[in-house]
């Protein structure tokens, strides 16, 4: 079901002008070299941030020479793009994979699943996530993430349309967009500035209510298994 995509697309940067494809690593050692370069890139980004990410530094970290780097990456941007793209695709796939599982699950549970999955994805590779988020604009990564979000939103929109009888939604696409964007923003923001929230049940609960609000679901339908609903209302 997911469209075929290359696992590692560090090469053939298609920068709207000259297709700047570089040599393809065929031998085992060169493939290992490319691999170690990408790993070094990730390591530097996580440990020292974007300012430390110079091509010479990456090469040194990987234990190779700059010259070798440029044999497989046309420029610095290709190096970073390769890394970020693979990482973003992984996340997308994980979220998209959730789609089918929501089909026939009670509403409350489905919403909780979406929220939990978003939180879980943010917690993984938190260091890399953090670093990339902080530096997103420096690469052309905004479009990346828009594509990512779009893909997730499409799946969600379909689910909304499928369940429209239980919901109160005019425009499934718009609702999905609002949900995906706000959940992403909230988890990302929390990762950067309030990491403790990522593990807070109360925070998760607020996110669920946010989603329910957008979908026009009123939680008062009755307690559902799968969602702990601690009534804390004044009597």
């Amino acid at each position: 079901m997911p469209p075929r995509r290359p696992l590692v697309v560090a090469f053939s940067r298609d920068r709207t002008s000259g297709a700047r494809a570089r040599k393809q690593p065929t031998q085992a050692r060169s493939r290992a070299l490319v691999e170690s370069l990408l790993e070094a890139t990730a390591r530097i980004l996580m440990r020292e941030g974007w300012d430390a990410l110079t091509t010479n530094r990456v090469a040194r970290e990987a234990g190779v020479s700059v010259g070798s780097l440029y044999q497989y990456f046309p420029d610095k941007e290709a190096l970073v793009s390769g890394l970020v793209e693979t990482w973003a695709d992984t996340i997308t796939e994980r979220l998209v994979a959730l789609g089918p599982r929501l089909a026939d699950v009670p509403l409350d549970e489905a919403i909780a699943s979406v929220v939990l999955a978003t939180l879980a994805v943010t917690r993984e590779d938190a260091a890399l996530h953090r670093s990339v988020l902080l530096q997103l604009p420096r690469i052309g990564a905004l479009e990346f993430f828009e594509r990512l979000n779009q893909r997730v939103a499409d799946v969600l929109a379909e689910w909304i349309a499928h369940r429209r009888d239980e919901l109160d939604v005019d425009d499934p696409s718009l609702a999905a967009y609002v949900i995906v964007t706000s959940l992403d923003a909230l988890t990302d923001h929390a990762l950067l500035l309030r990491p403790e929230l990522l593990d807070s049940a109360r925070f998760a609960r607020q996110l669920e209510r946010l989603v329910a609000g957008v979908l026009g679901v009123h939680g008062t339908h009755a307690g559902r298994a799968g969602v702990r609903r601690t009534r804390a209302r004044h009597p």
Copy 2:
């Protein structure tokens, strides 16, 4: 010839605290110069983006020399900070000013006001807003915006606490944080990638429902004046 470190540091470049002021422009012409430098900065940011923002370029755009620039700004960052800080403060004040006016207004109306105000603020100075958003991480502006959001969230939290009998909220601070962060993210994101949404009544409606969800308000209380509620539910 050799790198001569100045023995006496005439100007303190204190990175952690605010003691970074340069000469103060006292005469009229120097005040005009500072003004034109800030304007030039904004113009370049809007028209050409961060990469074009070099100190020499700013000076040229302002019709002055680099030397003059450094007479009033200790470094490049101070230049940008000056610009962004004023701009952010303006926005914050505008949102905070909304607080008192919400005190005794019907819930639906209050929510609609918050959403509309957020959208309105985003639309103003859209070009600058856009540019700054895209380049935020490059300066230390994340903290700026966190302070800004915190200030707005505090006002909102107080309002929530004040109205807690009409709402279903455990933790006013958390709810306010979630609302402010998601509204900001959604309007900012829309500005960058879906500007048409900023003028869409349907989008505004979704944002209202998002807020209502977080606050535990169910819109079915009855139609209220001030909120057009187009029922589009299947009968």
